[in-house]
């Protein structure tokens, strides 16, 4: 459920960032951490693309990333740019970990399939797979 909420977080955050960037230049606050927003979003999207939601560990970290992005959204709205940047950096590192975990899970599935295929081939050839 949280993931479902988080799925929209990236785009909402982007919209918010876009509007703040285009806000009057006369604002005295720190600049919006647009690069951090982009990095966190890209990492989360990459993790989702490899199926992070299907692996429990990867899903957990993707959820943490999305939570941090949601938090960053609120912080940016409150003009707390430094705190938002911290949240975004943590979101990115969680998304990166989710990506690696999902990739590893996928690789393990491939290994299992390859082992099964090797067993079949070896059986057909009349031997035993090593």
């Amino acid at each position: 459920m949280l993931l479902r909420i988080s799925a929209g977080t990236g785009s909402r955050l982007a919209l918010l960032v876009g509007s703040l960037v285009l806000a009057p230049l006369g604002c005295a606050g720190a600049p919006v951490p647009t690069q951090n927003v982009a990095d966190a979003r890209a990492s989360a999207a990459a993790a989702q693309a490899v199926g992070a939601e299907k692996d429990p560990q990867a899903a957990l970290h993707l959820e943490l990333a999305n939570n941090n992005m949601a938090r960053a959204e609120r912080l940016i709205s409150n003009d707390e740019m430094d705190a938002a940047k911290v949240a975004l950096v943590e979101a990115k590192v969680d998304a990166d970990l989710a990506l690696k975990l999902a990739t590893l899970a996928e690789s393990r599935v491939e290994v299992a399939q390859a082992q099964e295929r090797l067993n079949d081939l070896t059986e057909q050839a009349g031997g035993t797979a090593q």
């Binding site: 911290v86 950096v89 943590e90 590192v93 690696k100 590893l104 290994v111 390859a114 082992q115 090593q130």
Partner: protein, 309 residues
Amino acid sequence: MKLIGKLPCLMLAFLPLACGATAPTQQLVDARRSYELAARSPASTLTPAQLLEAEVALNRAEQAHKSDPGSESERHLAYLAQRRSEIAMVESELVRSRTELGSMKKSQEAVTEQGLKNAQNQVEARDGQIQDLRAKEQQLNSSKAALKGELAGEREARLKAEATAAAALASLKEVAMIKEEATSMTITLSGSVLFATGQKVLLPIAKSSLDKVAEALKLQRQDRPIVVLGHTDSMGSDEANQALSLARAEAVREYLVSQGIESQRISAAGKGESTPVADNKSAEGRANNRRVEIVVSGAPTPALANGSR
């Protein structure tokens, strides 16, 4: 090695505790433990760059702890350090998994290649068998054709031989009486055709008849023994008739041998007046009794060894 390299850093981290300084945040404690795990894992050899990133991140967290213990900066940097350590470990697992996958694919290729080679060998072996069978079939067809030709030749030769034998027999029937039985054939020639009265020398005219007999005998199976039997009428003494019949049978035998009949196959015997075929009281009967019989029997040739001549 890597872990040993980190020990000063770790010691530095615990130092403030000993001096009664502020305790590290839970985040930093977790980050240290995660790094330690990563440094002991295959990440140290498989993903050293990622492990180095984790080390740098942890050092920054330790520095933050040192300069501003329990701060948000310490917590944040420790959070990042912990994730970097986890990423390094996961990455090393991924490298290992991919290596394993590559190895399996190579094994699959090797097994597939071997399977293909085996199949190829089987196909070649079967091709060889097919070629052998075809060669044998061709050989059999050739033998069959040769045999067929041979049989046709034999059949033709047999028909020709039968025709020749029939012709010879027909010719013989013009001058002799032929009696064929299951195991023998008897050719009877009138004595008057062969010899003058009381003589044992063949008449010149007799030779023509005996030539036909010789031709017919040559066409018989070569293992059939032949006996020439001389017969007389009852005129004169038994002894004289016996001697005359034997002499006449001998004369006929010798002539037949001279015409190509094998001498060991043919014998002669005199029967005298002992086996008449007609009444000796009439001139016609006596003429019939004066005769020479040539008996071709089905008994084996060794019977000749008894020598009845």
